[in-house]
């Protein structure tokens, strides 16, 4: 990446005397603030050029806050490409100072004019009449150290590929600069004695400018539709549209009436408004119908996309499972297991709640139950009431529950009921099966499943575990008290 890119963006600084233009410019160029301020003052003496330049930057350059907001909303901000390209490098004005003087100067001038969208100073100096061309030539002719040795040989004729992208992205600024250059050229031509038909040019320029403003708005609204739709933006958009329209109408009127006589202009205005009103009245139903058609077509397309997504999902999951079920039709156990697994997957896909955190206890218990169900084939039904975030102790609770579910599914031989309740931070898990039951004392000492993985694990984490077994079934009851650190008055 070129060092020219690592420059901080041109923004008005909060360290200010009048509007922070000088200090912002200094930070951007990597020059001392004092130098810039003195330079500005000297330029002011030179026929007020400094004053004009200052005022120009004041209007065109955003404050640091505005710039940040703009960047946040639109990553590809034309004003501050440096920030959006590589924020890590941006707060390093010293890199510019370390460059060879010549390179730094061209880069600085280029960046200054470019970033502010202000070709005006250059035009005022009469340096270049054809702004964009000179601009591009300067850009491509400049050797870019970071761009690789291959680019150093580029002439003005061969534009590097990034230029096209950039020129489009900054079209607004380039257009504005070109317009101002044109104005400057006309003024110079007049000074030199060439007769310029201002009476035609000004209205034409007004029409063009108005149209440009209105069209830019079109572009903006499309982008805004994709990104965000804040009320303020829309209001600004309407204002711009109105301004553009007014400019165009005024320009056309002056051009058509030609004379500049107020009476005639008013008459023409009245007539054109009446005609426009009539046209709108006639065309409005069509426009509305067209708009509605467009909307319904768009909605249809959205539906179509959704349908395609659903179809793809069903094909990948449900249809595959159905095929498997058909092939295993003889094995009831496999069919049930496949159907349960598919049901779970489909439910998860249909009803998944993005708001619910996967790190919650209930989600973990459900995932564990699904795992046990897949592993042993017996249904494990989970009912949960309340929820809490996972901690280390809760992890132990989940592991103990898993062991209990495995035992219940393995020895109970039927469906397993799991109930999780969290209230006031206390978590309880009940795992119930309907197997023949067993006597805890009959379990051999070397069988770690019950003693170690369930009872021992819960005790180590300050919880409780009890196993109630009857000939009708077995229930494992696990309890974990509320964390003491969470709230001092937490109940145990």
């Amino acid at each position: 990446m070129s060092t020219a890119f690592t420059r901080p963006p041109l923004v008005r600084s909060s360290d200010r005397i009048i509007a922070g233009v000088c200090s912002g410019l200094a930070a951007h160029l990597g020059w001392p603030v004092k130098t810039v301020r003195i330079g500005m003052a000297l330029a002011t003496l030179a026929g007020g050029a400094g004053l004009a330049f200052y005022a120009w930057l004041w209007i065109m350059v955003p404050t640091a806050d505005e710039s940040a907001r703009r960047n946040a909303r639109r990553p590809a901000s034309p004003i501050a490409p440096a920030v959006s390209l590589d924020p890590a490098f941006s707060p390093r004005p010293t890199t510019a100072q370390a460059q060879p003087a010549g390179h730094s100067a061209t880069g600085a001038a280029l960046r200054g004019t470019h970033d502010a969208g202000a070709a005006a100073p250059a035009a005022a100096g009469g340096a270049a009449a054809n702004g964009p061309a000179a601009y591009s030539a300067a850009w491509s002719a400049e050797p870019l150290p970071g761009y690789g040795p291959a680019t150093t040989g580029y002439g003005a004729a061969v534009r590097p590929p990034w230029f096209r992208v950039r020129s489009m992205r900054y079209g607004k600024e380039v257009l504005l600069g070109a317009g101002l250059l044109l104005v400057a050229g006309i003024l110079i031509a007049q000074l030199l004695g060439v007769d310029v038909p201002l009476g035609t040019l000004i209205p034409a320029a007004a029409v063009l400018g108005g149209a440009a403003i209105a069209w830019m708005q079109l572009d903006e609204t499309r982008r805004a539709g994709l990104l965000d739709k804040t009320k303020a933006d829309q209001a600004g958009g309407w204002a711009r549209l109105a301004a553009g329209l007014a400019l165009v109408v005024a320009g056309v009127l002056v051009m058509v009436s030609g004379s500049g006589s107020w009476e005639q202009t008013w008459l023409a205005l009245l007539a054109s408004v009446a005609v426009l009103g009539g046209v709108v009245l006639v065309l409005l139903p069509w426009a509305l119908k067209f708009w509605r058609d467009l909307e319904s077509e768009r909605a249809g397309r959205v539906r179509e996309t959704e349908r395609a997504e659903i179809a793809a999902h069903l094909h990948d999951s449900v249809l595959q499972t159905l095929a498997l079920i058909q092939r295993r039709a003889g094995n009831e156990h496999d069919v049930v297991r496949l159907a349960r697994a598919q049901e779970r997957e489909l439910r998860g896909w249909l009803f998944q709640d993005p708001g619910r955190d996967a790190g919650q206890l209930s989600e973990r218990i459900k995932a564990t139950a699904a795992e046990v169900e897949d592993f042993l084939g017996n249904a494990v039904e989970v009912v949960s009431v309340g929820d809490t975030a996972m901690t280390e102790a809760h992890e132990a609770l989940v592991q103990a529950s898993r062991e209990a579910m495995l035992n219940a599914s393995r020895h109970g031989g039927g469906s397993v009921s799991v109930y999780l309740e969290v209230s006031d931070g206390r978590a309880e898990v009940f795992v119930k099966d309907r197997g023949p039951g067993f006597e805890l004392n009959d379990v051999p000492e070397d069988r770690l499943g019950v003693r170690e993985s369930i009872i021992g694990r819960m005790k180590r984490h300050g919880g409780t575990a009890s196993i109630i077994s009857t000939p009708d079934g077995t229930e494992v009851r696990l309890g974990l008290p509320a964390l003491q650190t969470d709230n001092a008055e937490g109940k145990l």
Binding site: V383, S384, V385, S423, R434
Partner: protein, 227 residues
């Protein structure tokens, strides 16, 4: 829960007359085949309109009602119950669902259904549920009990509270045990009370679920999408 609940409700001498309302013909015929011989299926319906007409004509004791149904105003099972409101005293509704979405289940219970079971339960279980509902009791699956505990909270009622808005300590105990997978009989044994008392508690909870004007209940159901 097969063996325990099979001995639960008393089987009536007369066969129970039942109407099955479900839009899937395969499910209807499967359910018919699964049901006990002492249950007589007198009618079937696939849409809201058909269901209301068949129920009005046959006046069954129990309607097995799918929560999601085509037709009508889109209200599904809830709309069928509303459309048969005149018969609610004699005809009992048992909701069947695959969805388990709290919103649907709570809506159909509040419309007047006497219980809720998932479609995956066995033929024996659904037969028991039909007998129980026909006998005037409520049928709570573990999941429905979980919904109730979640909606009403797990703390027992204060005296100051509206009676309908909270569960009593005993009702909470019963709901917890049902949520843990206990049958009514097991609940009775665990709490040293009679099965009849358990049924009374469950019916009281059903009444609260149906009548509570608790603002949180609907809000909770809307927020809670699936268990």
């Amino acid at each position: 829960m097969n063996n325990a609940q099979a001995t639960g409700p008393i089987r009536p001498a007369q066969p129970v007359r039942v109407v099955i309302v479900d839009d899937h013909a395969i499910f209807r015929s499967g359910l018919k085949a699964d049901l006990d011989a002492s249950i007589q299926v007198v009618g079937e319906a696939a849409t809201v309109e058909q269901a209301i007409a068949v129920i009005a004509q046959e006046r069954p004791e129990v309607v097995l009602l799918d929560v999601h149904l085509p037709g009508g105003l889109g209200g599904g099972g809830r709309e069928v119950i509303a459309g048969s409101a005149a018969l609610l005293g004699t005809t009992k509704f048992l909701a069947l669902s695959v969805s388990d979405a709290a919103e649907d289940v709570v809506a159909v219970i509040r419309a007047g259904a006497r219980g809720y079971v998932t479609k995956t339960i066995s033929g024996a279980e659904i037969t028991d549920a039909v007998f129980r509902v026909a006998g005037g009791d409520a049928v709570f699956s573990p999941r429905l009990a979980g919904f109730v505990l979640d909606a009403f909270g797990t703390a027992p009622a204060d005296i100051a509270d509206d009676e309908l808005d909270r569960l009593s300590a005993r009702e909470l105990e019963v709901m917890r045990l049902i949520a843990r997978g206990y049958s009514y009989k097991e609940v009775a044994k665990e709490l040293f009370i009679s099965i009849k008392t358990v049924e009374t508690h469950v019916s009281a909870v059903l009444r609260k679920l149906q009548l509570s004007s608790r603002h949180e209940l609907t809000k909770w159901a809307a927020e809670r999408r699936l268990l």
